[in-house]
Symmetry: C2
Subunit: 345 residues, 2 copies
């Protein structure tokens, strides 16, 4: 990199003192360490003259703290996670932390690799959006006493700090909203995943039906594989439309699913909401631009991200404080895509 970085040693030589004094002064410990006024000033001056930049590797090695947070998400190129990442980045910076982001692709093995790499790099703690089947990793972190907080998803069977959405409630609201607007045959498209948050969304949706005395039909629920989403989406939607109980409304469990589904709905030439009403989780620019603005469940991104950082940093400072488990509420933003069809009304 540069020819030779200036170190504390260079300053010491220049000032004709020991490196200890330089360290004391540059860390503002002159009082406690009884450094002379005069020499302190001189040291500071030389430091700025030489444009001294401390070496954080050395600092970290000594202190055992890197002021670094590992953020494990599914995919940084997914707007949802990109948004989260940005918020986490900013909030961490405010607190003097740097963030290292890793994309796991919803894959437990990749997630495990990321974890190892970042542990070796001595990050102080993690914010993790868990992949399916990664319980062992979480347990490992617990056993190793590594600080972390789960974000967006958590495992009900493992006691951890977490910050996530009240997914049950959100999905319930989505269902209820459609029913209130007169829709009866409501489909739900989710990922095929054992992850709790996804199951909760399904549960919320189904409970909304039950509470409104609507019989749930098996073909209304389509759980698509993460890989091959386009293909399975088509099959699922076809089945819902061909059903004896043809759906008149559709809830998408994530933003990605919605994008994929809407493309197909466009292809089919179906009109939203006349032929099919839509509600989706997540928000996206695409929803605004769609010919019929999409009703969506707005997640409190800012709050989710900030709180995750806050909980983690607090934990780093007070390792033995109680666990914090935060559930936040989504807000349903009703727009045209879930309006009572003009034709029927």
């Amino acid at each position: 990199m540069s020819k030779k970085k200036v170190s504390i040693k260079d300053i010491a030589r220049e000032a004709g003192v020991s490196i200890a004094l330089v360290s004391y002064v540059l860390n503002g410990k002159e009082k406690e360490s009884r450094v002379g006024q005069e020499i302190a000033g001189k040291i500071r001056q030389i430091a700025t003259e030489l444009n001294y930049q401390p070496n954080y590797l050395a600092k970290s090695l000594r202190s055992g703290k890197t002021q670094t947070i590992g953020l494990i998400i599914a995919d940084i190129s997914n707007p949802f996670f990109a948004n989260i990442a940005r918020i986490v980045e900013d909030e961490a910076k405010k607190n003097g932390y740097t963030v290292i982001i890793g994309s796991s692709d919803e894959n437990a093995e990749k997630s495990w690799d990321l974890l190892s790499v970042l542990i070796n790099r001595q990050v102080d703690g993690f914010i993790i959006v868990s992949s399916e089947n990664s319980e062992a990793q979480i347990q490992y972190l617990k056993d190793k006493n590594v600080s972390f907080v789960l974000l967006d998803r958590h495992f009900p069977e493992i006691q951890t700090d977490f910050v996530s959405l009240n997914n049950y409630k959100a999905a319930y609201d989505a269902g209820s909203h459609l029913i209130e607007n007169g829709f009866r045959n409501i489909g739900f498209i989710a990922y095929k995943s054992g992850l709790f948050h996804m199951q909760e969304r399904i549960r919320g949706y189904q409970q909304a039906l039950v509470d409104n005395r609507i019989t749930f039909r098996i073909e209304w629920l389509n759980e698509v594989e993460f890989a091959g989403i386009e293909q399975e989406m088509r099959v699922g939607i076809n089945a819902m439309l061909a059903s004896e109980f043809r759906v008149d409304a559709l809830i998408f469990a994530t933003y990605r699913l919605a994008i994929s589904g809407l493309k197909y709905i466009n292809e089919l030439g179906l009109n939203v909401p006349n032929d099919l009403a839509i509600v989706s989780f997540g928000q996206a620019e695409a929803f605004d631009l769609y010919y019929c603005p999409i009703t969506y469940l707005q997640q409190p991104m800012e709050n989710l991200g900030k709180t995750a950082v806050e909980v983690l940093i607090n934990k780093l400072k007070n390792p033995h404080e109680e666990q914090r488990q935060v559930l936040m509420e989504a807000t349903l933003i009703a727009r045209d895509s879930s309006k009572i069809s003009a034709l029927i009304a």
Copy 2:
């Protein structure tokens, strides 16, 4: 973090040898360093038993290399940069590097802060999407002999490695395409920015007009401030529509501008492409979902990102090799938004 991480020292104690031997074995230097077969095996076994994880801080401090790349972009929550980031992340990982991403918000001061923080953290090199007025930073890096490669944007007056788009050509193609399709009054919406890539886009657009004997009208060019984009977008589009030479087609210089502009065009109730044809830089899910699929200039993202990493890593290995300056071509993906208006045809 964990109670006590196992170090090389623990292994040495356990095996009853010096730490040097352990280091040699664990780094595969047993041959060169004449370590006994027997003891080598023992060391390796103990290492796995204790689940030894090397401390990269220590390694880095010693070697002066962190195997870390700093990636400075405008905003990770912008899909364009998020995509780039993902590609860079993957490609870097393949080469044993970790990436630290920082968002500058197109702000030279923030970019400077990020640079300092990452330099202090001893990153080996940078991939930088430059902000306006950050020439001094680039010059500083050059003076300090820090390795870096500019991505997406570069400064023609500073000799650096860079990987970016042939923006002139891309914009020229966009203009020509519209003209070929029969449009004559073509507006261009860009950011108000002195950055070369933006100027090149404007230049390309104007040259396309010139080469087709179309007189450029001043109100056809709208340069909006990064802050206050919504507001200025309205004013600009209004002016273009009210003009004596009312625009029949519009080119957006970035994806963000397009999203913002299309929202307003929707508001106005204008039909694309009948009332107004559209071509945009960048790609986005939103473009696919729009009622009239948007014609866009596809950037070779994968190639841009991979090449940037490749150029940087190559530079880290061979610091004194020649500079590499790569210009890539965009591909115009023609879709309905730039078709000859059905009404006129």
